[in-house]
Amino acid sequence: MIKLLVDNWSAFISGFGWTVLSSLLALFFSLIIGSLFAILEVMPSKVARVIGNVYVEVFRNIPLLVITMFFYLVITLYVVKINGFTAGTIGLTIYTSAFIAETVRSGINSVDVGQMEAARAQGMTFWQAMQNVVLPQAFKLVIPPLGNQFINLVKNSSVLAFVAGFDLMYQGNAIASTTFETVNTYVVVGLFYLVITLPISYYMQHLERKLA
């Protein structure tokens, strides 16, 4: 296994790099987009709630692979050329944001209604109350489930392999099929994923302890 790792070091490392980059981009954007749709879902306006609901239900109920293929093949064919890495990262962002929206919404809902009412009574607008009073409390509550979403996101980034996104899984497939060392290759790939996911896991636990 050491020999396999040494022989294919550059392939593994470049795959690792693309996986980390894709995960970071998707994490950042899905957190922002997810939080926005979560707020839409609890807004007083019915139109906003419907928009939020439709977004969440559509994208969390379609397989990630389908969303990714849509951007890779259909958008490329009719709108603008998107390469495999970008298509995968967009798919990953949209898919994860739907789950994050649901997670954050449940956090917002579990903050007592009185908090919002009190803040509004002080003369704050809806957005001010959301930003300064409700969201800080909501995020504290949803740190553990958010951690789950982030870890899932990293693992789901292997969807890039299906659209030639040069990620860890793509390199793993290529190495396995040329060296025929299937078991060893995927063990190494698995270990590389652990290198990304374990620190996230520990950091989220640390945050939970610090903020709770």
Partner: protein, 275 residues
């Protein structure tokens, strides 16, 4: 819990019985495949079921159709006589060698190149088709040969040695490896790649189904296909080789080439005719 215990006991013993039952028959190496086939008047061939022009099961009538199927039938008639039967079993690239080794099929005729690694496990007949790697492009593409691929993007399927070949011949080409040939073609069609590469016969099948695409530049590798036969069957191998030689000599072979590959855009069937 108790019920599960019984269930697992039953399953385990069933597996054991099945394994032991397999031991009953004579080991394959001590059987003579040629004699068995003469007795049953049937040769069982492992063939592809999903490759247009080569070996494809027609969804309308459930019959296998293609160049390899016709060739297998012709060789069967030479080996067993006019009334010999050819039976077909569908195989994939992954399953063909295991199925041959455990005796489910007598011979493999399924786009299998004669490679040193495979020769360690099974025997091959003489080559029956001069396959080689080629490229498929859109009809109006500026790519005329493999050299034009430098700086372009090429799609292929993961795990085919086509990828290594391209990287040797056109080092500046960018290669996208997709899960299978269908996806490699879809990526090419949607504009993710400028060309697709693999064996010429596989591309020929795709070109026939997708008239906007054609093969260019001929072949730039030689990876002849051979019929796979179990080790330790010299009689059967000689019979197959003799049958193949006769099929080539009496002109049946060239007729079959023209029947299946005579009309493929960009595919020069004269390259693969035998004298």
């Amino acid at each position: 819990m108790k019920r599960f215990k019984y269930l697992s006991l039953i399953i385990t013993s069933l597996l054991l019985v099945l394994t032991l039952a397999g031991c009953g028959t004579q080991p394959l190496s001590s059987q003579n495949v040629l004699e068995n086939d003469k007795k049953s008047n049937t040769i069982t061939w492992g063939v592809k079921a999903d490759q247009k022009l080569i070996g494809l099961i027609d969804v309308k009538d459930g019959q296998e159709k293609g160049f390899e199927i016709d060739l297998a039938k012709a060789i069967t008639k030479k080996v067993l006589g006019k009334n010999g039967n050819a039976k077909f079993v569908t195989v994939t690239s992954q399953s063909r060698i295991p199925l041959l080794k455990n005796g489910n099929i007598d011979a493999i005729i399924a786009t299998m190149s004669i490679l040193p690694d495979r020769k360690k496990v099974i025997d091959f007949s003489d080559s029956y088709f001069d396959a080689g790697q080629s490229i498929l492009v859109k009809k109006n593409s500026s790519i005329k040969s493999v050299k034009d691929l430098n700086g372009k993007t090429v799609t292929s399927a993961v795990g085919s040695n086509s990828v290594d070949n391209i990287q040797k011949i056109a080092p500046k080409a960018r290669v996208l490896q997709l899960p299978d040939f269908a996806q490699a073609l879809t990526a090419l069609k949607s504009g993710q790649g400028d060309a697709m590469t693999t064996d010429n016969v596989i591309l020929a099948g795709l070109a026939v189904e997708n008239p906007d695409y054609k093969l260019v530049g001929g072949t730039f590798t030689t990876e002849p296909y051979g019929i796979g036969i179990n080790k330790g069957q010299p009689d059967f191998r000689n019979a197959i080789n003799k049958g193949l030689a006769e099929v080539i000599k009496d002109g049946t072979y060239n007729k079959l080439i023209m029947k299946w590959f005579g009309n493929v855009p960009g595919f020069d069937y004269k390259e693969v005719l035998r004298k």
